[in-house]
């Protein structure tokens, strides 16, 4: 099992969810985060003093999947969230040792979906 962490642009969330659904990945956990990356932040101005902050609003998806789903998930995310410009985000894949469904106590591949 893998634990996929994807950082995407906030307004792409709907598209990504839709695309993931097509791949039958419909379980995930979403967090609003600030990304600090290559993408230049918009200079904010408060009373004339400029604040060059390179923190940008991003959305983080965490998706636990069985190994066979990894590529499909990654592809779906890439398809739906790419704009081709700096700031599109990243996908990180970590190894997931165990997954437990609280409701049933199921473990492993069973529990993931």
């Amino acid at each position: 099992m893998k634990y996929i962490v994807a950082i995407i642009r906030p307004h792409k969330l709907e598209d990504v969810k839709k695309e993931l659904l097509k791949e039958e990945v419909h379980l995930m956990t979403i967090t609003e985060v600030l990304g600090c990356g290559r993408q230049q932040g918009i200079t904010e101005v408060y009373r004339g003093v400029k604040e060059v902050d390179n923190l940008l609003r991003k959305v983080k998806l965490e998706i636990a999947v069985n190994d066979s789903f990894v590529e499909r998930t990654v592809d779906a995310i890439m398809r739906s969230s790419r704009e081709g410009e700096i700031g599109d985000g990243k996908i990180f894949i970590l190894d997931l040792e165990e997954c437990i469904r609280i409701r049933t106590g199921e473990r492993g591949g069973e529990a993931i979906g």
């Binding site: 642009r9 101005v45 923190l55």
Partner: protein
């Protein structure tokens, strides 16, 4: 010579301040309903209108709208820069209060009207073009219509149209303009379903304080602390209560639950509907006017808009336009000599309904066509819509380099 009545001055000072307050309240009513990334852009538009239209009003607007009449169509330039507008009462407008005070009260109306439209532009208009457009609109749409209906010698006024506090001039006018602009601007990108309001309590605040301010708006339109003001005060309170309740039950019936946004919207719909009728009708008529206003508003907002699919983001047309039309017609139906200075259908004067309809139709035509023209001009010169990228990032950051809230300390 006319004599100033101090009590009328006292009330009109308060009423004017209350109407001014409606624009910030509106900024929150609208601001709470948009997505977080656009909250400031909406507020900015309201506040800039407060400044820009306010200033234009002093320079030329008041003269255009209320200055000595030219052919029933427009005011002359005699009163620009408030020349001759002093603390001596005018012989026609608000004869018991200083002319300057009448001007100030009308200034607040001139401000709130274009501010109402802002809801239709939400989340996709370029600020610079907006500013250009709204000044033109105020000059060439609002001022003439105000002249026709309210000015000494205005042709709709001579025709006998009743408009206590601005049903046609303000709500129909702004509502139609909002519809036109929202169609011409096109839909926002990627809103398959409407996003939930980012801060509903702000919208609740806005509705509550619009209600508060509306007492200045309607009861103030009596231009004095007199019986008409009291009637307008009472009908205002009643119509909004009745409309809020009706909307709640409609929601309950059609959407399973009563909603906060529904009640808030209903209250505003009732306030709009009663506006032209406020000082002319009985409290019981106010209940009916409010209730039907809410019905119409609900129908347009939840059925007509989705059907046609125009993106009147915050339902300016559905609520202000349609309830304003209904209110103007209702005035023709329910106006009663027992309560005010006009008589309508129930007083045995059916012709008034037709007079009201005429005023509405003329306003719709003028506002609709005029707004479209101004839109094309502004769009041609500046481009009215932001780029898709700016829309995605949000207007706050792209148009104003600010964000409403920090995500982190």
């Amino acid at each position: 010579m006319d004599k100033i009545i101090a009590a009328d001055v006292a009330w009109m000072l308060c009423a004017s301040a209350l109407v001014l307050m409606m624009t910030p309240a509106l900024a929150f009513f609208y601001g709470g309903l948009v997505r977080r990334k656009n909250v400031l852009s909406i507020m900015m538009q309201c506040y800039v209108i407060m400044c820009a239209v306010g200033l234009m009003w002093i320079l030329v607007g008041y003269s255009m709208a209320f200055g000595p009449d030219r052919y029933g169509v427009i005011g002359s330039m005699d009163w620009i820069f408030l020349r001759g507008v002093s603390i001596v009462p005018d012989s026609f407008y608000g004869t018991s209060i200083p002319h300057l005070l009448f001007m100030a009260f009308q200034m607040m109306f001139a401000i709130i009207t274009p501010a109402l439209m802002v809801g239709a532009f939400a989340e996709r208009i370029r600020f610079s073009s907006f500013l250009f457009f709204i000044i033109l609109w105020s000059l060439f749409i609002y001022n003439p219509v105000a002249h026709w209906v309210w000015a000494n010698g205005g042709w709709l006024s001579k025709d006998g149209a009743l408009d206590f506090a601005g049903g046609a001039v303000i709500h129909v006018n702004a509502g139609i303009a909002a519809l036109v602009v929202s169609i011409l601007l096109g839909k926002r990108d990627g809103l398959v379903f409407p996003k939930s309001p980012h801060n509903l309590p702000f919208a609740v605040f806005g509705a509550g304080f619009l209600f508060f301010g509306w007492f200045g708006f309607n009861a103030g339109s009596a231009l004095g602390a007199n019986g008409a003001a009291v009637v307008a005060f009472v009908t205002t309170a009643i119509a909004s209560a009745s409309a809020g309740l009706v909307w709640m039950f409609l929601d309950w019936f059609f959407n399973e639950v009563p909603t906060m946004l529904g009640v808030a919207t209903g209250i505003v719909a009732g306030l709009v509907a009663i506006t032209p009728a406020a000082g002319f009708v009985s409290p019981v008529a106010a209940i009916i006017i409010g209730a039907i206003g809410s019905l119409i508003g609900f129908f347009f907002v939840t059925k007509v808009k989705p059907f046609f699919g125009y993106d009147d983001s915050l339902d300016v047309f559905g609520v202000h336009g349609m309830c304003g039309i209904w209110g103007a017609i209702a005035t023709g139906i329910f106006a009663s000599k027992a309560y005010g200075s006009g008589s309508g259908l129930i007083d045995g004067n059916p012709i008034q309904v037709w007079i009201q309809c005429k005023a509405v139709i003329i306003t719709i035509l003028y506002s609709g066509i005029g707004t479209a023209l101004l839109y094309f001009i502004a769009d041609f010169i500046f481009g009215m819509r932001v780029s898709l990228r700016e829309e995605h990032v949000g207007l706050d950051l792209t148009q104003h380099h600010e964000s409403g809230y920090t995500l982190m300390e």
